[in-house]
């Protein structure tokens, strides 16, 4: 059998698995990887997550919705083309959408600043999120950024404050929030629209505290070790599912999301609507309670009773009461 035939057979298998709800998506993709002749490594996923032909936020919205209207501006400083938002009707439900917007080519990317938002982007997101709460619209966020823009103007206008405020406000917003990482989930810039009731990741998306390049240059002292860093950082969708940080993984078409926009948008749509149906059943109080519990549970540590601790501290400072 030729490679091409194999590929289409795999595609069929995957469709079937999805339709019948059989959990073999990962196996199929592993086969697809072998077919492509590459190992399924974290770095390959980083490259796929950054693939120029992957659908962008606005393309997802366009493909998923019956109708949508983009809304611009933070009403304070200006409009940030790197972080888009608006209203979209998906499966008859009116959502407020927010998303990092990358481009497909140099020209688009210059306009969109490669999806790296300034403070006004995050402030626009907060304005639209508050509006969503007021008009009882659920919120859909599409995460795809290498990070918030680390520039002079961004700092002057308080990028840290803008992200921080979003984290705090989104955590107590009285409307369902569904987040989908579709490409790069880079650092605080991603999290700035990433606090929600459900968080999903596309199979080949990544989500991390810093880029593998940044990680390599700081912790491995060599920016060229980005590939190694990608593995060490545990930033892939299966990693994060394993950690319990995300709710589920949305399988991509064979080869990656870029190979079939229609199909991946359909799957995201299906996941988002299913999540919404579930969340819509909760009363706002319950929704907030569950979100709060989710946020408070983040982190891994031990709790040793201080008395039994062979603590360096007590030796040094004679502590212990």
């Amino acid at each position: 059998m030729k490679a091409e035939e194999l590929r289409s057979k795999l595609q069929e298998l995957q469709e079937l698995a999805l339709r019948e709800n059989i959990d073999i998506g990962a196996d199929i993709n592993r086969l697809a990887d072998k077919l492509a002749g590459g190992d399924e490594t974290a770095w390959r996923r980083v490259e796929l997550a950054r693939h120029q032909d992957r659908p962008t936020a606005l393309q997802y919205i366009d493909l998923m919705s019956d109708r949508y209207l983009e809304l611009h501006g933070d009403r304070t400083f200006g409009d940030d083309p790197a972080l888009v938002g608006g209203i979209a009707t998906i499966g008859g439900v009116h959502f407020t959408f927010l998303g990092h917007q990358k481009g497909h080519n140099m020209k688009e990317n210059l306009h969109r600043n490669y999806g790296m938002a300034h403070p006004e982007g995050y402030r626009k997101a907060l304005r639209l999120a508050r509006q969503a709460e007021r008009f009882r619209r659920p919120i859909l966020t599409i995460i795809d950024t290498s990070g918030a823009f680390p520039g002079l103007a961004s700092e002057e206008r308080g990028i840290g404050e803008a992200i921080a405020r979003n984290l705090r406000e989104f955590s107590v917003l009285r409307t369902p929030i569904i987040c989908v990482v579709v490409g790069e989930g880079g650092s605080g810039g991603a999290l700035g629209i990433g606090v929600g009731d459900r968080v999903y990741m596309l199979e080949n998306s990544v989500y991390s505290v810093i880029s593998p390049e940044g990680f390599a240059s700081i912790l491995l002292r060599d920016a060229k070790k980005a590939q190694q860093a990608a593995g060490l950082m545990k930033m892939t969708a299966p990693d994060l599912k394993g950690f319990g940080i995300i709710d589920d993984i949305i399988p991509e078409p064979v080869g990656g999301a870029q190979s079939d926009h229609q199909q991946i948008a359909g799957r995201v749509r299906q996941t988002v609507l299913a999540a919404y149906q579930e969340l819509a059943r909760k009363r706002p109080d319950q929704l907030l309670r569950d979100r709060s519990a989710r946020l408070l549970s983040l982190g891994r540590f031990t709790e040793k009773p201080v008395g039994r601790q062979s603590s360096l501290l007590s030796r040094l400072f004679g502590g212990g009461s």
């Binding site: 984290l167 605080g188 540590f301 709790e303 009773p305 201080v306 502590g319 009461s321």
Partner: protein
């Protein structure tokens, strides 16, 4: 149940059960400072170590504010030079099995004499009580991992439950990268507890000290009802070198310093260390229900 009542339930669960463990008095050993001389990192003039400690770790010649750890902060700021520490039982693990992280933590603990990048507890300033969270830059760059996030969350929830202000001294290079995605998520967790504290009607007072950058700036550090800063403290999201790499030019002098952030509208006041005690005491008074306490 209203969210307000839910939050109060969460607070009680956290403060009553968990805070009992890991509680102890924490103070610094005075003998650590013997009279040896060094040069001030800012003006280069000779400074006596013993004098420095008496002078709140501020250079007597040029007023340079030294970076100080939680223990030195407790010694110079709190009544009796001590706090009743809580969450001392919350200790780090290696959540993403990062090579040598456990070893790094052990070394940092040995080198610095503190157990994590943050120390939390209840203390008094001029007789006024508040919950405190004090970061130590010298512990792995003050980086925020799961322990920093949890201790901060508990400090804020404790303050909310016990109806007292929460005062945070920041000093951090950002997220603890060795804890991977867990470190990023501490930003969401600490920002959420800031929302719960606000819900309970208690003030969050943040004192930004040198340096405060990265994920700490983009979360609780920028969420204070009142935001103070120590003179000349570096405060920003991206570090200066990263920005210079982006714009490919040198940054103007004073960029991202405390005074700059005040000019740009992100800091309420720049307060020298010598005035911190009276300023914080005043702020606690202003926010306590019965008005000023004796």
């Amino acid at each position: 149940m209203s969210p307000g009542r839910y939050f109060r339930k969460v607070l009680r669960a956290v403060s009553r059960d968990k805070m009992k463990q890991g509680r102890r008095a924490l103070r610094m050993d005075d003998r650590r400072y013997v009279a040896t001389k060094h040069s001030c990192p800012s003006c280069g003039k000779p400074v006596d170590d013993g004098d420095l400690a008496v002078n709140l770790f501020v250079c007597p010649h040029c007023g340079h504010h030294y970076r100080i750890s939680a223990l030195e902060r407790i010694k110079t700021l709190m009544d009796g030079g001590e706090i009743s520490e809580f969450s001392a039982d919350v200790q780090p693990v290696n959540p993403i099995d990062f090579p040598e992280y456990t070893e790094k933590l052990r070394q940092a603990q040995e080198k610095t004499g503190i157990d994590e990048a943050i120390t939390t507890g209840v203390g008094r300033i001029e007789g006024r009580q508040a919950a405190f969270a004090l970061m130590s830059f010298k512990f792995l760059g003050g980086s925020m991992g799961s322990v920093v996030g949890e201790r901060l969350a508990r400090a804020m929830l404790y303050a909310a439950d016990q109806a007292m202000p929460c005062i945070i001294f920041t000093a951090s290079g950002g997220a603890r990268m060795q804890e991977g995605i867990f470190s990023l998520m501490q930003m969401a967790k600490t920002s959420h507890t800031a929302a719960l504290l606000a819900e309970a009607g208690q003030p969050l007072i943040v004192v930004l000290t040198d340096p405060t950058t990265g994920g700490v700036t983009a979360s609780f550090a920028m969420l204070g009802d009142i935001t103070l800063a120590e003179p000349n403290a570096l405060i920003g999201f991206a570090g200066p070198r990263v920005i210079e790499g982006t714009i490919r030019q040198k940054l103007p002098a004073g960029f991202q310093r405390a005074e700059f952030q005040k000019d740009k509208g992100f800091v309420d006041a720049v307060v020298p260390r010598s005035e911190l005690r009276s300023t914080l005491a005043y702020l606690i008074d202003v926010h306590s229900r019965g008005g000023a306490k004796p």
